[in-house]
């Protein structure tokens, strides 16, 4: 069915049955229901199948290099705080190649939504392990199975006191939608790690596997308590879904710009002030 945010004349590069379709649908629904103006919304991505999402949704986009969506998003938001900025990509893109930026973006706390498609495998390069692949997962490269400890984005984010740390399963659509809505309403950096299945290269972590190995956080979970959030984040059999932790604090752009919220392109420097400062030398 056609959606107003569909980009026209596109040739979608995803495989039939890919979990990305569900995430695309979810994002379009959430943006529409929150009345976010596509003319004021930018999706920034890296490289990979997940990172192609911006090509299929009619907002502004910056599709950059593998791993580098976060620094672009951070500076973009600071240059024009009126924009809604979304950084989107896969687990390899955001946690592997972009791992350093992941850590430091959380520390900066820009007001952006960070959506990570997590299917525990590399799709576009055809089936190698990703940072989140489970131990023992066999691939053409990890021929004896993965031996590295799987990357736990939630506990890493919490160690850095991420203002919003969440995980959803796209197979649990209604729950995922509630959480993504909350992420957009949160002021500051918001991580939404999205479990999705790769139907071609991951025959282990299937939609059924994600369903059987996850559960929704109890309503009694106190998302304002960092240590109980960390405790939940470390659970992995099964893995909890939901908002682990939420706490608002001043954003990167607020620290940098104070109350000045105008787009930098609308401002210019005072040349007399420049001369005055020069004369001091």
């Amino acid at each position: 069915m056609k959606h107003p945010l569909d980009r026209e004349g596109i040739d979608n590069a995803w495989c039939a049955g890919c979990g990305n379709f569900g995430i695309l649908k979810l994002l379009k629904e959430v943006l529409t229901e929150l009345n976010m103006d596509p003319k004021n919304t930018v999706i920034v991505s890296g490289i990979g199948q997940a990172a192609k999402t911006p090509y299929y949704i009619d907002t502004h986009m910056f599709c950059g290099l593998h791993g580098r969506a976060l620094p672009i998003s951070t500076a973009l938001k600071a240059s024009n705080p009126a924009l809604h900025v979304i950084a989107e990509g896969g687990d390899g893109d955001m946690y592997g190649e972009g791992g350093n930026h992941f850590m430091h973006t959380i520390r900066r706390n820009p007001d952006i939504v960070h959506i990570v498609h997590n299917n525990m495998v590399y799709g576009l390069t055809k089936g190698q392990a990703s940072p989140t692949s489970q131990k023992g997962f066999q691939t053409p490269v990890q021929v004896n199975g993965v031996t590295n400890e799987p990357f736990n984005p939630i506990s890493v984010a919490l160690a850095l006191k991420a203002g919003f740390a969440s995980r959803v399963n796209i197979g649990n659509y209604a729950h995922a939608k509630r959480v993504l809505m909350e992420a957009f309403l949160h002021k500051g950096y918001a991580l939404v790690d999205v479990f999705q299945a790769c139907v071609v290269f991951n025959k282990v972590n299937t939609p059924k596997w994600f369903k059987d190995n996850t559960y929704e956080l109890e309503s009694s979970h106190d998302s304002s308590n960092l240590s109980s959030a960390m405790q939940k984040a470390l659970e992995n059999d099964p893995m909890p879904l939901g908002i682990f932790y939420q706490a608002e604090s001043a954003t990167f752009e607020e620290h940098l710009r104070g109350d000045e919220k105008r787009a930098l392109f609308s401002l210019s420097h005072d040349l007399n002030k420049m001369k005055e400062l020069f004369e001091l030398y």
């Binding site: 599709c63 290099l65 580098r68 620094p71 600071a78 240059s79 930098l264």
Partner: protein
């Protein structure tokens, strides 16, 4: 949403901006003296440099100072060279008229720069077997004034005593530099020093040039980093994201200090890859963003420079060179990254490489970097080096309104295509939130709207589009500076400008002229025609192979001689003069 306006909105159909016209320093007879100060890091060598350059400037002289230092925070042996002159000077010299050794190690560190004529001043406790030392009670006098830290005031007093300059001026300088703290102690040390200097008897004592009592235009004393920074501000820079790396950090510090006065966003990034991607994110949002780095950090940026080229997102990269490979000599100087600047990044796309040669050019080309990045939507690399960034010289007042302000950002409508194939080379650049168009930046090969394409027809068109931009920058390249006229060209680029200029003046040979390139890539073949009329072409550059000479050869320019150096120093005007003089003798 209310309508947002872009100030100074312009289109690329306007001809390129002209740089403000100013007079090149005149090459008349000059008299200068050189004072070398040596000591360990952390012993106040920098303070002494600040006191003396300010005090000599106040006394009516042109001052130039440059330093060479080791990559450590304390200890070691460093020097600062101070040249005092009656005309503008922007180059170091090797030979030393007066050497002040703050400790014993300094003597062995610089012994090759001392001649029989050099006056060597050191504390009375310092001894040396070969070098004749004029002893002064430096530490004793400082202690008498209250503490060893007044040694700097004492030494500057000695110099003022030797040259018979007004003590009041020195006191003014010290009072300004230390915010009027410990004035009494400093004054005591100064007067003690002056008394000693006045009574010093030696037939070698150098004499000062005549002071320029009535400098009509006030002069300003600053280093190359600050001058570049003022240029970037004049170009409208409002964002800098960088990872600290010697010798580029000066610019980051400068811009951070300026963020107190301007809408200027400063962020220290986690690595250089983040730096440049932030710059691209900034420009995409409508900021005028830059990063600063040295060779190693620049190498990390390679892939993102390529992204700037492909996505046609402007970027300004300040690259202060130091000798490599790898960590190399972190605090020393070289012009070794020219090829890296020109060729970094995979794939074929346009870029411009600028290399200012003196303080005025640091400002001009800093401004120009932003103008060009915006105009051509490509990466602009601004090459400096440790020598240029750290050296302090003097320049005239700058009227910042002389730098034409233009902003090429366009308001878009609903039919907007970011990569529109129009008749010209440049597609108008929109930004998100300004107009009704959808604005994109794409790393993959794309169609006019920015969608991924693998159509070979579209690929051919986009390759052609990027080529047209290169052709445009070649045709709009700024001309090299021709200083003097003759049949023997002394060719240089970037920071060698001052040393070549001074050597040229000292050689005083009517056959010689200087051709200085501050726009080093891409070259316009028409600008090189002058080198086909000459009898001899001598290229002078501070790297091991002659990277720029090779580029000129690629343009069918005959290169007769290369004067090269890659020892960590910049060129010394007097040594360069000797090298040139040997070559020229052979030409007779």
């Amino acid at each position: 949403m209310k309508e947002i306006k872009v100030p100074f909105q312009a289109t690329v159909s306007k001809p390129p901006v002209s740089l403000p016209k100013y007079k090149e320093p005149e090459h008349h007879d000059t008299h200068s003296i050189s004072i070398l100060i040596g000591g360990a890091a952390g012993t106040g060598i920098k303070t002494l440099e600040n006191i003396l350059s300010d005090a000599f400037k106040r006394s009516g002289y042109f001052v130039f100072s440059t330093k060479e230092y080791m990559s450590r925070v304390r200890g070691g042996s460093n020097t600062t060279l101070l040249r005092i002159s009656d005309s503008p000077i922007q180059a170091p010299c090797w030979n030393t008229d007066l050497f002040i050794a703050l400790d014993a190690d300094a003597l062995s560190h610089v012994d090759e720069r001392l001649t029989d004529e050099t006056i060597v001043l050191a504390d009375e406790k310092v001894e040396h077997e070969q070098i004749h030392i004029t002893s002064m009670p430096m530490l004793e006098s400082a202690k008498k004034a209250g503490s060893l830290r007044y040694a700097n005031a004492y030494v500057s007093g000695v110099l003022f005593g030797i040259f018979g300059l007004a003590p009041a001026i020195l006191l003014e300088s010290i009072s300004a530099l230390f915010n009027e703290q410990n004035l009494q102690e400093n004054e005591a040390a100064i007067l003690d020093g002056i008394m000693y200097g006045k009574n010093l008897e030696s037939h070698h004592l150098p004499t000062l040039p005549e002071a320029l009592a009535n400098l009509t235009d006030p002069m300003h004393l600053m280093d190359g980093s600050s001058a570049a920074g003022f240029g970037f501000l004049a170009g409208g820079c409002n964002m800098i994201t960088a990872y600290p790396m010697s010798p580029s950090t000066g610019i980051l510090n400068f811009m951070a200090s300026m963020s107190k006065h301007f809408n200027l966003l400063v962020e220290q990034s986690e690595d250089e890859i983040a730096s440049l991607n932030m710059v691209l994110g900034g420009w995409f949002g409508g900021a005028r963003a830059m990063t600063s780095t040295s060779g190693g950090g620049f190498a990390l940026m390679g892939e993102s420079i390529s992204l700037s080229g492909m996505s046609e997102t402007p970027a300004v990269i300040y690259l202060a060179q130091r000798p490599g490979p790898a960590t190399g000599l972190p605090t020393r100087s070289e012009q070794g990254d020219l090829n890296l600047a020109i060729h970094s990044g995979h794939g074929y796309f346009g870029r411009i490489v600028l290399a200012p040669g003196d303080l005025q050019e640091c400002i001009d080309y800093g401004y120009l970097a932003f103008e060009l990045a915006d105009r051509y939507q490509m990466p602009i690399i601004y090459l400096s080096d440790q020598y240029l960034a750290d050296s302090i010289g003097m320049l005239h007042s700058v009227d910042f309104s002389d730098y034409a302000q233009r902003r090429y950002v366009q308001t878009t409508d609903a039919s907007y295509d970011r990569y529109k194939l129009n008749d010209g080379a440049i597609s108008p650049r929109g930004v998100p939130g300004l107009g009704d168009g959808i604005v994109v930046a794409t790393s993959d090969e794309h169609d006019e709207h920015g969608q991924i394409t693998e159509s070979y027809h579209m690929r051919e068109k986009m390759v052609d589009k990027r080529q047209k931009k290169i052709t445009l920058t070649v045709s709009e390249a700024y001309t090299p500076k021709v200083l003097g006229q003759g049949s023997i060209a002394l060719i240089g680029w970037g920071s060698s400008k001052g040393a070549i200029g001074e050597a040229l003046k000292e050689l005083d040979d009517p056959r010689l002229f200087q051709l200085h390139f501050a726009w080093v890539h891409p070259l316009n073949p028409n600008h090189l025609e002058i080198l086909k009329q000459t009898e001899t072409n001598i290229v002078i550059e501070n790297n091991a192979t002659g990277q720029f000479a090779d580029i000129l050869k690629g343009h069918d320019i005959n290169i007769d001689h290369r004067i090269l150096q890659a020892n960590g120093f910049s060129f010394f005007a007097d040594l360069l003069k000797e090298q040139l003089s040997k070559i020229i003798k052979e030409l007779r």
